[in-house]
Symmetry: C2
Subunit: 379 residues, 2 copies
Amino acid sequence: MTRSSIGDVHPQHMVFDEPILLQCGETLLSYQLTFETYGSLNEKKTNAVLVCHALNASHHVAGTYNGDEKTRGWWDNLVGPGRPLDTNHFFVIGVNNLGGCHGSTGPSSVNPATTEPWGSTFPMVTVEDWVETQARLATKLGIEIFAAVIGGSLGGMQALQWTIDQPTRIKNAVIVASAPKLSAQNIAFNEVARQAITLDPEFYGGDFYQQKSLPRSGLKIARMIGHITYLSDDAMDVKFGRSLREDVLRFNFDTEFQIESYLRYQGDKFAETFDANTYLRITKALDYFDPAAKHSDKLPATLSHAQANYLVISFTSDWRFSPKRSREIVDALVANKLNVSYGEIDSPHGHDAFLMDEPVYHDLIGAYFDRVWKECKDE
Amino acid sequence: MTRSSIGDVHPQHMVFDEPILLQCGETLLSYQLTFETYGSLNEKKTNAVLVCHALNASHHVAGTYNGDEKTRGWWDNLVGPGRPLDTNHFFVIGVNNLGGCHGSTGPSSVNPATTEPWGSTFPMVTVEDWVETQARLATKLGIEIFAAVIGGSLGGMQALQWTIDQPTRIKNAVIVASAPKLSAQNIAFNEVARQAITLDPEFYGGDFYQQKSLPRSGLKIARMIGHITYLSDDAMDVKFGRSLREDVLRFNFDTEFQIESYLRYQGDKFAETFDANTYLRITKALDYFDPAAKHSDKLPATLSHAQANYLVISFTSDWRFSPKRSREIVDALVANKLNVSYGEIDSPHGHDAFLMDEPVYHDLIGAYFDRVWKECKDE
């Protein structure tokens, strides 16, 4: 079978005029979601798969815009014709989450009530809010039940939350490199990133749009910190080690080591393309995610009404969300006698492994979706 | 035996008018070192021990100033009468390193040539430079040979460098929670901290003294990042977990979780007391440290002229400088048939364990120094 990219794709937009009461207590009267779809919805509408994005990504999961290779979607190696999540079989949907900065209503959008950008006044959004908005989008698209919801990292948290909040509307959840809640260290890294942004004088308390400024320095620092946590110590040593940009030490504060140059470049690029207020809110959504909190910290009780089948995957060198965190999810699912497959992939690439084309990992997902596809056909 | 603090102590200052050619190629015509001593130098001058400090510390190793408990030295639990490094036996010296901000000549000192603070023009200093200046101080104090040089983290690197550069002047090296060089991840964390400082508009390229400003935000972020790497994930979870400051989520950007509050407090406190230019230079000294680089990356060859006896100690939960990094040092020492003891201490406290009163750790150091003391007496 030929594996290939889906080719050129186009974002779509859907406006929702039904108010939504967010978990934080605020209500949005209307909002827009930007999304993309790949493949075709079958007649029985049983082959829809939702892909949830993590901190830095968007609805643009696969394919390119106008043939430009640089615009390739963030999970293009996984989603496409003949790929593990095969668009010849499935109708795949990627959604930019509410509060995002890639087309869906977020802090950089104009608040109709003031005709100014929301900025600091945009409400806090949570994983539960995202599941609710994704479910509303599905309904509008005529999809009653998802064959699967899949995501990595924060995306995996959304897949898990789907099985808690919408147990009758999801048949399979694929949870990759995720965790049932953040640790204190996870929160700590997020908090440093937030402080870097909010202490940047160009942030103006979140209302920098009106000032025609950008908190570039803060976003750059935030991204650099994030990047370190996505890579394993070993992967960094293999990729950069102590290599210098020039042959000799310069004894100054320019970029002397390759790793410095790489991080600064990643940070600068990110600062130009990502919204600071969105970054703040997504890190808070990560911090808040803790479905077991309502059940006296008992994850099995939290999942007692779940009905989905699960594929849970972790990576050995991931120290942001280590395999131990995935096993907590697996244990809670097993305690509920739910159908769960668990793969602990031997990879040196740290948390970032979930975005990479690791054969065993992709084969595992491919085999799982083959089974999902058979179930769709047999219905 | 009673273990107690050394009590009130007083810093001393020594001015050096012999120029020093630094590793970076620049020459300082004169400089001052600030230091403290505890205990008494014996008649044969065989009982001197040098304590080297790490990133955030100073010459103030033990005791208090004017009876104020808040001024207790950073390694007071280790150094004092009856303590593992017993000041009833040893003459202990703590030195603020060149480039520091606690009395020794550094970026915040006045450059006699301009009568302005050095600021951005202060040269880069390295571990080798520190060893040279410490050796000169020892000479002025009449100490030809140190019974021991001891340090944790960056302090341990200085102890190691002493045995390479001054093999005839050091009898024992105690290297705690250290590494033979930084990994790419270690450099990456340092680089993020440096970017946070240098991108702070209050930094003014390093010449903020004249502007009567302080890059508080940058220093705060730098310290917060550092702090995360000093603690283990588990220690953070035990100490803070996901505990909230108030009972309910507030859905805002104030400090909601205890860990956020702790980090911000630590960062704010540090920003008021530490010099940004010193922080930049010490992190660079860490990055540059790589004694094996001159020997084709072969650490055993680097240590071929060393004569000291060694005690190397690591902590199981230290992910900044893991036990693996200490074992690299041990292996290189063993390859040279040097006398080395190695202790891998089971501790949940991460890198910070080296500053803590862990009984097994302190007993190990105490037993080692008992032997060193017997050797001093027998001479």
